[in-house]
Symmetry: C2
Subunit: 192 residues, 2 copies
């Protein structure tokens, strides 16, 4: 087994253990892809037919709003799944970009291949369901943060719950992720 795939399989098995047969069927569809800093995994407007598991590095998902400002919607580090959900699920043009913030190693699996595996192995479809459910709950949490917290409280939420974000992601990007302006974020974190 290539050592790079170990993290990926471990990640999967934690969500839903797979039989040796499923894993054997899955492996040929996995492909390693490495990206330099600032490369794009997904581009707004294109249909995203790949799902990425991040082995190392860091990516952001963002879109451009009406004023051509970038709105960051998601950040992912090692051992996270990066996917342009709407596009990948519906196979329609992506509303977002996914771009690396550092050199990043990924394991890629294609939409088409996942669906082959879904058809062939009920337990892989179950994995897909569980992954979607978990992802959903995470998005819901972030939605509540944006719905209920002040700028200062949003920053404190990051401090307590996503310390990696503050360590590794430029404030510039974190601001729109938190739904506040860069200057406000800078002030809020100065006074604490």
């Amino acid at each position: 087994m290539l050592p790079l795939f170990e993290n990926y399989l471990e990640f999967i098995q934690k969500i839903h253990p797979l039989s040796p047969e499923s894993i054997e069927a899955l492996m040929p569809f996995l492909q390693q892809k490495n990206f330099a800093k600032k490369d794009f995994l997904v581009r707004q407007g294109n249909i995203s037919d790949e799902l990425y598991f991040i082995i190392s590095g860091c990516v952001r998902e963002y879109f451009e709003d009406a004023n051509a400002d970038e709105i960051n919607t998601w950040f992912g580090f090692e051992n996270a799944v990066a996917v342009s959900t709407y596009s990948f699920f519906s196979q329609k043009p992506s509303l977002t970009n996914i771009q690396t913030l550092e050199d990043t190693e990924t394991i890629v699996i294609r939409h088409e291949d996942i669906h082959k595996l879904y058809n062939q192995f009920h337990e892989i479809e179950r994995l897909g369901r569980l992954l979607a459910e978990q992802y959903l709950v995470q998005i819901e949490e972030m939605k509540i943060i944006l719905q209920t917290l002040s700028a200062r409280q949003r920053y404190e939420y990051l401090l307590q719950n996503k310390p990696d974000f503050i360590k590794r992601i430029p404030l510039k990007y974190l601001a729109s992720f938190l739904g506040i302006k860069l200057e406000t974020l800078s002030r809020v974190r100065g006074q604490k």
Copy 2:
């Protein structure tokens, strides 16, 4: 076929068509439950082991924040699935209440029974996956609204995209759903 189940089956078939065998297996687990206005389908702190399909009426999902203010997180009308996602998926205590805003007829299916069906029918598990994916994309949309729009723009979003909300849901509840105060919402909609 009881006419009440028709909408439910139609809803399901639109997401993923099921074979007659699956439908036959599913039917015995469906149960009709009617609620009076202000009744609770789910209570914060309890494990929610039921998923509701709304035949008629209207429900809200909400939780109480640290100041004992109610934060509304979701509204559902006819032909929507109401579920306390976190609790139902993880079978841990619910973070939210689900309460009717009008007399409401539902079709209920239990967590345990869904999982029996998942085990027995791959295609029902697929339905579950697709439902989770769709739900996820909807939550993501609302997250973007809260992340990027001003109070006035949030109201205009509702006007254009969820006119039913404005017709049928008291402003009092819509305000926290939009992440703004009642008075602000009232002002914003007065000046238009």
